[in-house]
């Protein structure tokens, strides 16, 4: 990025993409701005604070409503896509290249994530990406309930949810140990 006008053009490009609902990743633009990243960032912050955001997607709206209602946003997204936990687990296993033996553990950990028993902030980027693909949302829309210890843990869900959780004692997960799966969910080694 060589000129001030170039920075402004980049800011304009970002603002236009945001206005069109394309959800541009500002990090790519910061990279392109090079030595002018500071100026670029300041202007983008100012402009998006002062201009109307694009209309949200139905998925973002479902997620936001769930958050405000103290319900699991991931559950809302999953239901919106009409996916069962088993179907989602199949998708994640395929998308992430997990060995079949790791599926039960992945499925159980996903349920814990959905219920707020696993901190969504600590999940691996590739799991976040796979969930975004499954739910057809931007990665930034994969928000989840506060994890245990930092806030409310959800204790309700769809039919059968509580029973499924009861089958998963805190200190034991189904299936063989899998560092690969645990790493996806940010569990300590």
């Amino acid at each position: 990025m060589r000129s001030d006008d170039g920075v402004m053009a980049l800011v304009e490009e970002f603002a236009a993409a945001r206005a069109r609902g394309e959800e541009p990743d500002v990090r790519e633009y910061l990279e392109r701005a090079g030595d002018h990243a500071g100026e670029f960032g300041s202007m983008v912050s100012a402009i998006i604070s002062a201009t109307p955001p694009p209309a949200p997607s139905a998925e973002a709206l479902a997620s936001a409503h769930a958050l405000l209602a103290s319900e699991p946003p991931l559950l809302a997204l999953r239901h919106r896509r009409g996916l069962t936990v088993d179907e989602l687990a199949d998708h994640l296993v395929g998308e992430l290249g997990i060995a079949p033996a790791g599926r039960p553990r992945l499925r159980a950990l996903y349920q814990r994530l959905e219920a707020g028993l696993v901190d969504a902030a600590g999940i691996a980027a590739r799991l976040r990406s796979a969930l975004a693909t499954a739910f057809d949302v931007a990665e930034g829309e994969i928000v989840a309930p506060p994890a245990a210890g930092r806030g409310v843990v959800f204790a309700r869900g769809p039919e059968g949810w509580e029973g499924a959780l009861d089958d998963l004692p805190v200190d034991a997960l189904p299936g063989p140990p899998s560092a690969e799966v645990d790493d996806l969910f940010g569990l300590p080694a």
Partner: protein, 185 residues
């Protein structure tokens, strides 16, 4: 690109949504901007591994405040920006304390130290974008609105305004000069 919006077809603005208690729509509109603000504040300070955690904290705070019925004296876009910035600052403070408590053993995976000078800390934006637009000529203001708020490319703006592409380019250049002067010290 995400599918065409299916909500918010009323075109209500943030203030209306807040006033009418349509908090879900309000929050949903700004989820992407939270991530943008946090990513900007984190740029060149940490690697991406902390972005999602901090975004989540910012969203949690926005949710708490909406649930509590908090009212604001500034536009909600400014609230989103400040909450996002505070989430970054709070995280850095916690990180720094934890690092000191644990004897500096925490790994930040090659990122710059959290206590490094904030690349954006000294830049204060003193003139609002809308105020800058208000000072433009009516034609330039309309071009700016179409480009920056409606997201139209220059060729579409030219068709809309009934002028040449070159004229639009010239207008956008003038607007950029105004904005740069207004938004940066």
């Amino acid at each position: 690109m995400r599918p065409a919006p299916t909500t918010d077809e009323t075109g209500d603005d943030d203030a209306t949504l807040l006033e009418r208690g349509r908090h879900g729509e309000l929050l949903a509109r700004h989820l992407g901007d939270v991530r943008t603000h946090v990513a900007i504040r984190l740029w060149r300070r940490h690697h991406d591994e902390y972005l999602d955690e901090i975004v989540q904290r910012a969203v949690e705070r926005l949710v708490r405040e909406l649930r509590a019925g908090k009212r604001y004296g500034v536009p909600y876009g400014v609230v989103v920006r400040k909450v996002s910035e505070w989430a970054v600052k709070d995280w850095i403070a916690e990180y720094t304390q934890a690092r000191a408590r644990d004897g500096g053993d925490l790994d930040i995976s090659g990122g710059a130290a959290p206590t490094a000078p904030d690349a954006f800390g000294e830049v204060e934006v003193t003139v609002a974008f809308e105020e800058t637009l208000a000072r433009l000529s009516p034609d330039d203001r309309e071009a700016a609105r179409l480009a920056w708020i409606e997201g139209m490319p220059p060729a579409a703006i030219a068709r809309r305004l009934g002028c040449t592409r070159n004229a639009v380019d010239q207008r956008l250049h003038r607007i950029r000069v105004h904005l740069r002067k207004a938004l940066l010290p």
